[in-house]
Subunit: 327 residues, 4 copies
Amino acid sequence: MSTVLILDPAADAKAVGGALKRLGQWASLLEGPPRAYRLDPPSAPVTRAALAAVPGVAQVLVPASPHPRVDGQAHRAVPFGPVAVGGDAPPVFIAGPCSVESLQTAHEAAAAAAHAGARLLRGGAYKPRTSPYSFQGKGSDALGWLREAADAHGLGVVTEVLSEPTVDAVAGAADVLQVGSRNMQNFALLKAVGAAGMPVLLKRAMAATLEEWLLAGEYLLDAGAPSVVFCERGIKGFDPQTRNLLDLGAVAVLAHAMGQPVLVDPSHATGRRDLVPPLTAAALAAGAAGVMVEYHPDPAQALSDGPQALDAAGLAAVAAHFPGSAR
Amino acid sequence: MSTVLILDPAADAKAVGGALKRLGQWASLLEGPPRAYRLDPPSAPVTRAALAAVPGVAQVLVPASPHPRVDGQAHRAVPFGPVAVGGDAPPVFIAGPCSVESLQTAHEAAAAAAHAGARLLRGGAYKPRTSPYSFQGKGSDALGWLREAADAHGLGVVTEVLSEPTVDAVAGAADVLQVGSRNMQNFALLKAVGAAGMPVLLKRAMAATLEEWLLAGEYLLDAGAPSVVFCERGIKGFDPQTRNLLDLGAVAVLAHAMGQPVLVDPSHATGRRDLVPPLTAAALAAGAAGVMVEYHPDPAQALSDGPQALDAAGLAAVAAHFPGSAR
Amino acid sequence: MSTVLILDPAADAKAVGGALKRLGQWASLLEGPPRAYRLDPPSAPVTRAALAAVPGVAQVLVPASPHPRVDGQAHRAVPFGPVAVGGDAPPVFIAGPCSVESLQTAHEAAAAAAHAGARLLRGGAYKPRTSPYSFQGKGSDALGWLREAADAHGLGVVTEVLSEPTVDAVAGAADVLQVGSRNMQNFALLKAVGAAGMPVLLKRAMAATLEEWLLAGEYLLDAGAPSVVFCERGIKGFDPQTRNLLDLGAVAVLAHAMGQPVLVDPSHATGRRDLVPPLTAAALAAGAAGVMVEYHPDPAQALSDGPQALDAAGLAAVAAHFPGSAR
Amino acid sequence: MSTVLILDPAADAKAVGGALKRLGQWASLLEGPPRAYRLDPPSAPVTRAALAAVPGVAQVLVPASPHPRVDGQAHRAVPFGPVAVGGDAPPVFIAGPCSVESLQTAHEAAAAAAHAGARLLRGGAYKPRTSPYSFQGKGSDALGWLREAADAHGLGVVTEVLSEPTVDAVAGAADVLQVGSRNMQNFALLKAVGAAGMPVLLKRAMAATLEEWLLAGEYLLDAGAPSVVFCERGIKGFDPQTRNLLDLGAVAVLAHAMGQPVLVDPSHATGRRDLVPPLTAAALAAGAAGVMVEYHPDPAQALSDGPQALDAAGLAAVAAHFPGSAR
């Protein structure tokens, strides 16, 4: 991105432009002298060598990557609790309740998740809620329930960290630390979470560009996280029929053009359980390395986000999209 | 959508709320008397009978549908030139050049499209271009080339109508009339296109809500179109890595919750040929009844949108996502 | 925009960067050789000479402007029916009903508009409506009423053209032809409207970039329009409290950085009459060359957009923001 | 918002609809029995009594306000360090550098701000930066410089808090605590900042609805803040000509329809110093209770956001928009 190609004085600018089209590049001609082509997104990935080899191109000017550590984890599977994610690893399935409400419901959810083929249990102990008067999560008690339930069913635990002072407590109970959308650019939290030295699931903020998202990952890796797995969960949209706007184009860019491990959360993306199964399939087809969904043993009793929680039938429908499962 | 439930005076509002969660409904309580629940998107589809059956619900108030004709074509395959689209019909594959530049390239494109399993040939005779100084299409000549090339390879033709005075000419050469994004709410054109009595491919405008899109379809059906097939081609987004923002959540809503026939154009959605194959797969997984892609025998020579046109290898990669093909 | 600066081999890149900051430029360094700075929006306007004068800059590469005819009308007042708009001309005030419903209401509206200081009467004869079942306007009859009412009160007429076949009829009754948001990229209509040889009021599409908007103006000027006045009317937003999202930053860019004549329609921007007076004041302060508002003698009887129409008190409140009026 | 009106069985629904238009209400009819009107945004403010008085309306059902504490500070001036903001208080002017880089530049900035009529000095000690490799602020040293410089010129101090552990240190140096856009829904920080018992300047997140923004204010007030002043600083937009998309419609809603104290930051909204003066004027005209701008004694030397910082001439141009100043 942002590359400039300086042309030989004798170059045929139209021929160079054709060659750039063949390479999938959107280019605009700059008057000189010297004449130059400026390459802009949404151009496809291309190597510097391929550009330099175009007849008529004299020099290739590129900016340094702003996120070298994120680039460094590209095109391979990275550690993610009990599994590896990305690269050639099989897609990972994560399920569990929006919030962890009791030891009993945690056990029920873990049993169902494990039965469906999930490898990690999700569940919120500390919940970010839009209103101060909404249920805020069961806190440290819930961390214990979550760990106990996951262990009983051979699952890893991924749960969200909401504040610096609780990083250690959450890290003690979890295999993967989640940073939520609303904290994607809470840089103090990113530094503290990275310093915990654990894999991180980094959700995209409501209106983050891909570069802002990658740079948030750079904060985590720079602070000490061994791996960052990105999670698309829908950005702010203008149509009310879905809670958010699921951006599977972004997933395809991260997965295919950048080689990054990226998951999808179709539950928050849509806010409606009827759309979670087809969008799970779509996410995997777009290149997602897995999905994370909300499941509740009895959605009618859920203390948060009940209308979007899968019931048992929905969980089975989602599970069916994972290859090779016995479900 | 927009439903209001009036409660029995003696109803347990919390129990009613739980039952609504079980039905996938997002509800907010209105103080009375009488007390009521207002249901809002992104609630899942639900029947009036299911709501009326919730204990404690006294009355169910719903608005009339604003698009009865569109509702009338739901949950079944509709005519679309040589094939049927939606319902139980197999997914349809449409390919061809951005613009039809010569009889020769039309033949080459048709041959490649037919070989890849496409059933319709796409191609622009009249091109909507952002700049008045860009190539505007070959016009009526191109209509003839398109028809001849399609016929030679057993394909149907879908091509865009840009203006009322050319509706008849385009209708004479095409099997399906396309209305482009920039004309989705060109109501004069919708009326003229509908009056031609042919199936229509209706692209979504850059910032159209689903209801605005469906109402544009209602214009077409009301004016005489036998069927409207919707086509998601990306809405305006803020991230430069893709040309537009592909909204597969909207596709899932139309396909699964509304039963409408909906296609996806991953070429315009992304503007990059490297992402067209995975997003074709994702579109079909999300519920799309088919895809339409841009292919050019030699992208370097394309007069418009070259960087996003598939080459032969890309076309084969897309074709591989269609079930049952011999490709 | 899109400029690239090639540095002298011996240049101090940091010093060059500082000088660019002083010029209001956002710049990113490209590795070479040669080293270069790429300037990107939202940089402030700057002349090529100022960039060339920065010590260490060897060459300045700029793309040609894509809209030379629009550039040609910059920084001066342009004809707009009975008045001139932009440049040093006083701000223009346009008022009238959403749709022209009868000769009587047209007269009442014209009288009120003239009394309030308006110089042009607005009113729809052909109405673009989201639903085919909504009132579509009184058509050619309304054109006559509008002309008669305007003439009786010494006003010019601005009214929307919805389709090519009606351009002549509308041009016969109007002083300024309006192209609506939904038709901003209806290129066939732009060509036909431009060919009528009259001033045009060009509304911004729901999700148009400024460049797309300017290029739509280029279509009009290239086709023969003597002047194009731009009109911001709110773009698609995600917050329901206003009907659209009024983009006064765009108004400031057009007015101050580009010298283009630009009006604001606060009625459609907000959909609520209570916000029209303060946003009229804000529009003028941001650099708008005038405003256009909806007024109805009796909003309760309005056949379209009644809740956003100003009543008499609202019209007076708007008028008070125009300098030097006797109101 | 979200109100439902139940009609008398004998009511004339059309007449009721007309009366609602006269009250500025967007309403949709729900079939019954009973028949009802559902009122939706962007309806203008209206009292329950006015709705109940419409002939034919039998009952008015409204939801409880989700942010009673924010409602409680409406329509009056609230404490804001050395001044009061909102209500009948004169508009407040805040200026200062993006980041506080040295005691000397803090003094220079404070002198210039005071000379221009500012009442508070802004400046970042802890800076939220998109990249981990960008300058992160001078930290606690900068807090001291800021306080000393402000005191020397009779100014209050507003500065951003980035993390819970630094709330006390920042509170010790500041008169107003700022919560930035990226932390608007960092609920742990909101609770900690509220508990400090100081006035808060709460910036709107990049994609926050007004209700989400108000609820973030509710967190602060609920936790102990004596006042919350909202600050619009531009939301995420799709046009590159401005850094963000300034939403003055939102400012008008907060100021006029809700009576809340709301400031505008035109520097971050646009990212270009040339647009700060006109948008300052526009903000005040729209109802803003003041503005906050970035000023640097020498923008070429600024360690962050230099291209958007006002120089001395720009500061004077902004100051000229404040009524009654001696500047």
